[in-house]
């Protein structure tokens, strides 16, 4: 029973991080209709930035999130307004699949050149502390990671629901033509959506850095994770990403504990395939309904 509880807690913590790492991917697909295969790059870039800031100035990765987010927001915006927009307007939305795949390879190799191929970890002072909840122990870093993830997801949810920018993003997702007729600059909002997505991915990267080892090549896994989370939870909403992330985290933890740590990936994909067969719209369904 204790093992089960401990595993469940681990799974939920992991799930919270998966959710945050995936929500931007979901947002871009929901608003622009692009499968952004560069998503994992933003996650890992966030982790490397957190590592560099921690090594150079001793900045705690969680406190570095605003700075990392701001930088990656600018990068994401510029990336959409140039490369992605060129590809879409000259070819098709589908072309973005090839373009983002190619860009992911370029960026992965650049990260490898810059930071080397070694697996990295960030170890802040509280790395080895833990909190006891009854008989269960939770690592301090994991608790902090979960807290930061939930705070950011809540912030995103509020922004989408309550602000003009959030409404504009949803309007553009549903009816791009009517949105432009209502005075919204659709291209600019696409760019900003990419910016928000990259910023959240970078934030998740900083959190991942203190919880798990990472390297440039782990970007592939984070793009895939985002994909699975979105299929599990449903497209386009933070709630969908949260549901999908938590389910994925639990699957991962239970498989590692009760089946075999070697089979976690296999189990994730098995669930992905089952989900696509049985409930392709995801647990919560598509946030933007029939618009796509």
């Amino acid at each position: 029973m204790l093992l089960f509880l401990q595993t469940t807690i681990n799974g939920l913590v992991l799930g919270g991080i998966y959710s945050l790492a995936a929500v931007g991917f979901s947002l871009i697909f929901g608003v622009i209709g692009i499968v952004n295969l560069t998503h994992g790059i933003f996650v890992i870039a966030g982790a490397y930035m957190a590592m560099a800031l921690f090594a150079a100035a001793g900045v705690d990765p969680l406190l570095a999130i605003p700075l990392i987010g701001a930088v990656l927001f600018a990068v994401g915006y510029a990336y959409q307004r140039t490369i992605i927009d060129w590809a879409i307007s000259r070819a098709s939305v589908e072309a973005s699949l090839v373009v983002t795949f190619g860009m992911a390879m370029v960026f992965r190799n650049l990260l490898q050149l810059w930071f080397g191929p070694d697996v990295q970890t960030i170890t802040p002072s509280y790395s080895f502390d833990s909190v006891a909840i009854g008989p269960i122990r939770v690592d301090m870093v994991r608790l902090a990671a979960l807290g930061a993830s939930m705070a950011l997801l809540t912030g995103l949810t509020l922004m989408l629901a309550r602000t003009h920018f959030g409404r504009a993003m949803r309007a553009v997702a549903q009816q791009p033509l009517a949105a432009s007729l209502s005075g919204l600059n659709v291209r600019r909002i696409h760019g900003l959506t990419f910016g928000v997505s990259a910023a959240l991915a970078g934030a998740s990267g900083a959190i991942i850095g203190i919880v798990q080892p990472f390297s440039a090549s782990s970007e592939v896994a984070w793009t895939l994770n985002a994909f699975i989370v979105v299929v599990l939870g449903g497209i386009g909403s933070p709630a969908g990403a949260l549901a999908g992330g938590l389910v994925l985290g639990l699957i991962n933890a239970y498989t590692a504990t009760y089946v075999s740590p070697a089979l976690t990936q296999a189990m994730m994909f098995l669930v992905l395939v089952l989900m696509l067969l049985l409930r392709p719209q995801g647990i919560l369904g598509a946030a933007y309904g029939e618009s796509r």
Partner: protein, 258 residues
């Protein structure tokens, strides 16, 4: 039944009416292609400030393409569009709105997963109308009490008529001087159609210039000061609304009476 098409009906050439100053909207030589298919070719018309102008014609005549070019949703291949004396050809839609030109698109296109209120808020934030946001909301809710009742509901849950009201309300939130309505009566019950037309008349009485695209000829032509008949992307006939209504060729082609 006389074959009206063969009779050389009095050619109502583009009546050079005593235009009081320059028209609010002036379209000349407009052309647009979808790939290799030409949808609009050498299309020209104008709308005097404060008037009601109609574009009529069958399916595929190029009416929607024409107004989408005017509103900046499509970029024309050729031609010029002048609004209030200014060349706005190729100006993107979100900038055209800022000049006071609002298109209520065909098929309503409300933001289905946003609430009624949110639909209005999104449009009400354009720069030209931002300062009047709450006044405009009041105005739309007064005009459409139904929308006020349903303000917290998702727009997708509204009936067709309510969605049309919302689409018009959304256009009004931008504080337009020219309101372009693309098939506002499409799919509505006869009673609702009458309601919508009465409303359009009221908006016009408030000073908003109306450009209406319709297939519902009788009510449209009754209301329009001036109308243009489009066929295969060209203006083939134009004249006063009533005048066209009595035109045997128009009757034969579009009203099914000879």
């Amino acid at each position: 039944m006389t074959a009206a098409s063969s009779s050389s009906a009095p050619e109502t050439e583009a009546a050079t009416e005593a235009a009081t100053g320059a028209p609010l909207l002036e379209v000349r030589g407009l052309a647009y292609d979808y790939g290799r298919v030409t949808a609009v070719q050498d299309c020209g018309f104008e709308a005097a400030a404060g008037g009601v102008v109609a574009l009529i014609g069958g399916n595929g005549a190029g009416k929607t393409t024409t107004v989408q070019c005017v509103a900046g949703a499509l970029r024309p291949r050729a031609g010029t569009i002048r609004f209030d004396g200014r060349d706005i050809t190729g100006l993107p839609a979100h900038e055209a709105v800022e000049l006071g030109l609002a298109l209520v698109p065909e098929g309503r296109q409300v933001f289905q997963q946003l609430t009624v209120h949110e639909n209005l808020l999104v449009a009400g934030r354009v720069q030209r109308a931002r300062a009047d946001l709450s006044a405009n909301l009041d105005k739309v809710y007064t005009l459409f009490p139904r929308l006020k009742e349903r303000r917290a509901q998702n727009a997708g849950s509204l009936s067709g008529g309510e969605q049309q009201m919302l689409a018009i309300g959304r256009g009004l939130m931008t504080g337009p001087r020219l309101l372009i309505l693309d098939e506002p009566s499409l799919g509505l019950s006869p009673i609702l159609v009458t309601t919508i037309f009465r409303l359009i008349g009221a908006l016009n009485a408030e000073g908003i210039t109306i450009l209406i695209v319709e297939q519902n000829l009788h009510q449209t032509l009754t209301m329009a000061d001036h109308a243009y008949v489009l066929e295969k992307g060209r203006v083939v006939r134009s004249g006063g609304g009533r005048e066209l209504l009595d035109d045997p060729a128009v009757k034969a082609a579009y009203l099914g009476v000879a």
